[in-house]
Subunit: 381 residues, 2 copies
């Protein structure tokens, strides 16, 4: 088996949505296809929020894979070996600076796992579990994310409709955005969402826009609500600020989606003051150099007393969903709007009591997600 | 004044050089020209080691500048305002992930400072000093960097010739690479270089490839040599590992060149155990979102008891040279091989007793550096 071609394109994810930090007017993502000389395809898709990685793919990472000696990418069984490919992609890259590069490597890594699963004729969760020596299961706990700000932040109608629909579909935990409107407006949004989610089942995502003092003020105002967790209450790299919040407020904290490497995750573990009994680790697999780096991160935390159940990888991304199922992690995020490329579940997977069952199709099942599969138009001919 | 066009190109910096971490076989950099409707040009050039930023420039940052309302980029005097441009470039960028993006913004920022200096008809150090309320001076302390590994690491001839030539030209402090050869070979390189540099005037750069235990072994072996500093003895983001080294060895530490943001610099200050009486802060201005971010970093450290004299920005980069002169920082790095695009000094600036005098030409003086100016061929027509 040889890689015959690697194709990529940039897809618009533009929408009128915004969170507390940024607007998505010009958001993009990369779709990648790795094609073998035997006509197999591996498909990878970016996670959301950091723009596409086409340029870095074309300039550095695709050429390195294509220039590799063919045997250097395979394991002893002749299957594509994503970890070997990873080492080839990262040759001559300096340490530090874990930004766009991490996402470019991650989207290629996803395509290679998809390819390996198709070579084995099985779902990706099974391939990932076997590779890393985990039990794996064809199901994952999920939570539903909605509640981005629309044109009128004070109108809680769309928020209620989104959460009520998800509840009817079997979701039991929900997340909405806050911090992008005045406190009073956001409190009304929280109360509206809590009515549908129920006690302890609503998480709030601030997208890291607060200074620690601002975060403390908001958390004090929210202290009487029974919430599942608060996400990125401070800037993602402000470990000391995070530790101060964790030391003062009982609410669980979710963070990590804007840390893109083992190096940064280790600093969060060392300096962030997080609590293994309640906090959630949300590193984004695709944006963080893919699975080889992610599994190093999981093992680092496990070695420091954390359960894999405290991992809930960022973004409604099918790579994250399969990894949660493969490694027995806590929860996968699902973007409730299935019309989004990174929304919904593969194969319209049923959700029962907060748990999604994965369809028995090879790879990540991108073909079973119409909005996502449409992003690959032109790459699969 | 309006920006009429922004042009960029990717330039090869390929060479047979290597350090302990990477080879430079396929290294690239970006050259950028900002052209005004009045025919003025501002020139920016990447720092070295992290590849060019052309793709991100074309996809995100150049369009944002060109789409900005013209008045939004100017100060009250009608001059380009790099800090205002910076805010426009960083709109809708999520926090964290300070990698390639930081270099793309930085190279554009340099071009805008060059343009502003030309509008004022003065050297860039004068423009930067005035903008940030510093005294400024047309001179900067410098040190010379050479001693990359060539084909034969054990041959100290090229190393000696490079340092002896620099000493004859007026340099008094020198830096060479170590960690890319066996300890015994590197010790011979250090001894050869020390003979020319003299006591306390030789720094060693390991490029962050060591684990803390490995670093401790090497530093113990080097403890009897009178060295100026050891650079990146551990991985750039391993703050706890760095603190362990700083707590155990007296040799000054230089680090920061692979941290590309205020957020990361703050973590270094908080968690890295560095010593304000001796250690060197080497953040790379161009790779770290340019001057607006860099000045925030300098002020952060000043607020924590550090002298600006402890700053020695990375890379033989003319932006760093002018900033050292403008803000009264400790030292600028000079790549000793003036045939390199980022080698030598503008206008063949004289070096006397370790101090370089900057030529009285507008902007950064890129026109006076033939190898660097050649990188702009085709962009200035």
């Amino acid at each position: 088996m040889k890689i015959a071609a690697i194709r990529e394109k940039t897809v618009s994810l533009a929408s009128g949505l915004r969170n507390a930090g940024i607007a998505y007017d010009a958001m993009t993502a990369s779709a990648v296809v790795v094609e073998t000389d035997g006509g197999l395809h591996g498909l990878g898709f970016d996670s959301v929020g950091r723009y596409g990685h086409g340029a870095l793919l074309r300039e550095r990472f695709i050429p390195r894979l294509l220039d590799a000696p063919p045997g250097g990418l395979l394991d002893g069984d002749g299957l594509i070996d994503p970890a070997a490919a990873w080492r080839i992609m990262m040759a001559n890259e300096k340490p530090g600076g874990h930004g766009e590069r991490a996402g470019a490597v991650g989207v290629l890594d996803m395509a290679l796992w998809d390819l390996r699963a198709r070579q084995r004729g099985e779902p990706a969760w099974r391939t990932i579990a076997d590779y890393f020596g985990a039990a794996g299961a064809p199901a994952a706990a999920v939570y539903g994310t909605g509640g981005h700000y629309g044109a009128d932040a004070a109108d809680t109608g769309p928020l209620r409709a989104s959460l009520a629909g998800a509840r009817a579909r079997g979701f039991r935990t929900f997340k909405i955005k806050i911090g992008g409107a005045p406190l009073k407006t956001d409190i009304a949004r929280v109360e509206a969402a809590l009515e549908i989610a129920g006690p302890g089942a609503l998480a709030l995502d601030t997208n890291g826009v607060w200074e620690p003092e601002t975060a403390a003020g908001w958390l004090a105002a929210l202290a009487d609500y029974d919430l599942a967790w608060i996400e990125e209450p401070v800037s993602p790299l402000d470990y000391a600020g995070l530790a101060a919040i964790a030391g003062r407020f009982a609410i669980p904290i979710g963070t990590g989606e804007n840390l893109f490497s083992f190096d940064d995750a280790r600093n969060l573990e060392r300096h962030g003051g997080l609590r293994p009994d309640r906090d959630l680790l949300q590193f984004d697999i695709s944006l963080s150099y893919g699975l080889p780096e992610y599994v190093r991160i999981v093992r680092l935390f496990e070695g420091n007393g954390w359960s894999p159940q405290r991992f809930a990888p960022h973004a409604g991304h099918v790579l994250a969903l399969h990894t949660v199922a493969a490694l027995g992690l806590g929860m996968a995020e699902v973007a409730l709007d299935a019309a989004l490329p990174v929304g919904g579940l593969p194969g319209g997977a049923p959700v029962e009591d907060g748990r999604a069952t994965l369809p028995d199709v090879p790879g990540f099942g991108i073909e079973t997600m119409p909005a996502l599969h449409a992003c690959f138009a032109g790459l699969l001919d």
